[in-house]
């Protein structure tokens, strides 16, 4: 402790997630087990994993939820997606900082899509420009 540099902030959570783990997670959801809901993920359908690749437009680094606005181009059409996250303290403890994403970065985000079909996603993980993958939530609550 002491001196310069970033201090360790990890309190649980994951460094990186492998595909089999995610497949297992979504299998849980496909079974229809949605009895227990985190108030902020209720609006999202965890049984429909969605992956987006797009350009970061803005990052709202704020409580209670940080947001990433992402422009995704598919079939010639550009759609603005709003990706919801945990708040900055949770994200920092998962390895994020306020400057992890910069407008202009092309990233891949996996998560749960809004139930109403709108262009909104609840983030599960982000693959950054340097190919690092960061989770967007730890297994805990407020």
């Amino acid at each position: 402790m002491g001196g310069a540099g970033r201090v360790s902030k990890r309190v649980g959570g994951c460094g990186s997630l492998d595909a089999p783990g995610w497949a297992a997670l979504f299998l849980v959801l496909a079974s229809g087990a949605l009895l227990h809901a985190h108030h902020s993920v209720l609006a999202y359908d965890g049984a429909t994993p969605t992956t987006l690749t797009g350009t970061v437009v803005k990052v709202l680094w704020q409580n209670p939820h940080a947001y990433i606005d992402l422009d995704v181009t598919a079939d010639g059409t550009r759609t603005r997606w709003i990706v919801e996250n945990e708040g900055p303290v949770a994200l920092e403890r998962l390895g994020w900082t306020k400057s992890t994403l910069t407008p202009g970065d092309v990233v891949t985000i996996t998560g749960a899509r809004a139930r109403d079909g709108g262009a909104r996603l609840r983030c599960a993980s982000v693959t950054l420009v340097d190919a690092r993958r960061l989770p967007c939530f730890a297994s805990g609550g407020t």
Binding site: M1, V7, S8, K9, R10, V11, G12, G13, C14, G15, S16, L17, D18, G21, W22, A24, L25, L27, V28, L29, S31, A33, L34, L35, H36, A37, H38, H39, S40, V41, L42, A43, Y44, G46, A47, K58, V59, L60, W61, Q62, N63, P64, H65, Y67, P88, V89, A90, E92, K98, S99, P103, A112, R122, A124, F137, A138, S139, G140, G141, T142
Partner: protein, 292 residues
């Protein structure tokens, strides 16, 4: 990496639980005790009988330092459950009654089942302070300091606090109802007992619709059973909602992460602010989900 395999184990466990209908395997311990609520209670109680804590200047156990909840998904549901998107499986935290379910009166059970599907109505999602005992379910940890005559919890989440006087003073008049309630503490040997009245009963115990009424009365007990763990027990009474009192417990563990630093977690900021809009690194506006 340890944490990766832990998460993978949880997801595999959750899947296995659904497919095979078996109890979720629970390899973890806290303070040398299994974390399943009943087994934990018996083990921690036994260890506490012979454990001698270090003491503050006035002779009470020294709880000071950084702590966190041994959170087994109980923030989501105090009863047991298999988990779902962004929600880990949980073995639950109830020890009494024996079936590990909240002993609801029929009207209250019906209401709970209705609220279970309306997680957006959880007052915690609206930034209401969690109160007792729920605040100790937080994943974000807290610091305890012990000024003379007090035990004070400084929570990271929502910069919340508990100021617990240990002089067994009188409670506030009944007409004052608060989210935090009125905590009055006393030491019973090496156990800190905290009695909460004046709770407003507007909160939930978790994110799964387990609601409260204003007749709620909570008693918490904190007993150290190893240098780095506290046995936390809470008993909840409310004759208008339950058929009997019920009790939960879980482990509180010291956070000994080198360089650990409490960060500020202001529950709301940019989302409600129409003035400070920016385009990039932003404090800006966001829409919160209040679907009703």
């Amino acid at each position: 990496m340890i944490r990766t395999s832990l998460f993978a184990a949880l997801t595999v466990a959750a899947t296995a639980a659904l497919v095979a209908q078996e109890p979720i395997p629970q390899p973890r311990t806290s303070g040398g005790c299994p974390v399943e609520s009943r087994a934990f209670h018996d083990c921690a109680t036994a260890k506490a009988r012979t454990f001698k804590p270090t003491r503050t200047r006035d002779g009470h156990p020294d709880f000071q330092g950084y702590w966190r909840s041994r959170n087994n998904g109980i923030a989501y549901d105090v009863e047991s459950g298999p988990g779902s998107f962004a929600v880990p499986p949980t073995l639950g935290e109830i020890i009494e009654p024996a079936d590990k379910k909240i002993p609801y009166q029929p009207w209250a059970l019906a209401r709970r089942n209705e609220l279970r599907t309306k997680g957006f109505e959880d007052p915690q999602g609206h930034c209401a302070p969690s109160g007792a005992p729920r605040k100790n379910n937080t994943l974000f940890g807290w610091r305890i300091i012990q000024p003379r005559g007090y035990v004070v919890f400084l929570y990271e989440s929502m910069h919340d606090y508990r100021i617990i006087p240990t002089d067994g003073r009188q409670h506030l008049p009944k007409s004052i109802k608060m989210w935090h309630g009125d905590p009055v503490g006393r030491w019973e040997g090496d156990t800190l007992v905290v009695d909460y009245t004046n709770l407003n009963g507007k909160h939930w115990f978790d994110m799964s619709g387990n609601f409260q009424s204003e007749n709620i009365h909570v008693v918490e007990r904190y007993t150290m059973f190893t240098p780095d763990t506290i046995h936390f027990v809470a008993t909840i009474e409310d004759a208008t909602m339950y058929t009997r009192p019920w009790t939960l417990n879980f482990s509180l563990e010291r956070n000994k992460e080198p360089g650990y630093y409490q960060l500020e977690y202001a529950c709301h900021e940019g989302e409600r602010d129409l003035q400070h809009f920016t385009d990039d690194t932003g404090r800006g506006e966001s829409k919160t989900f209040r679907e009703k």
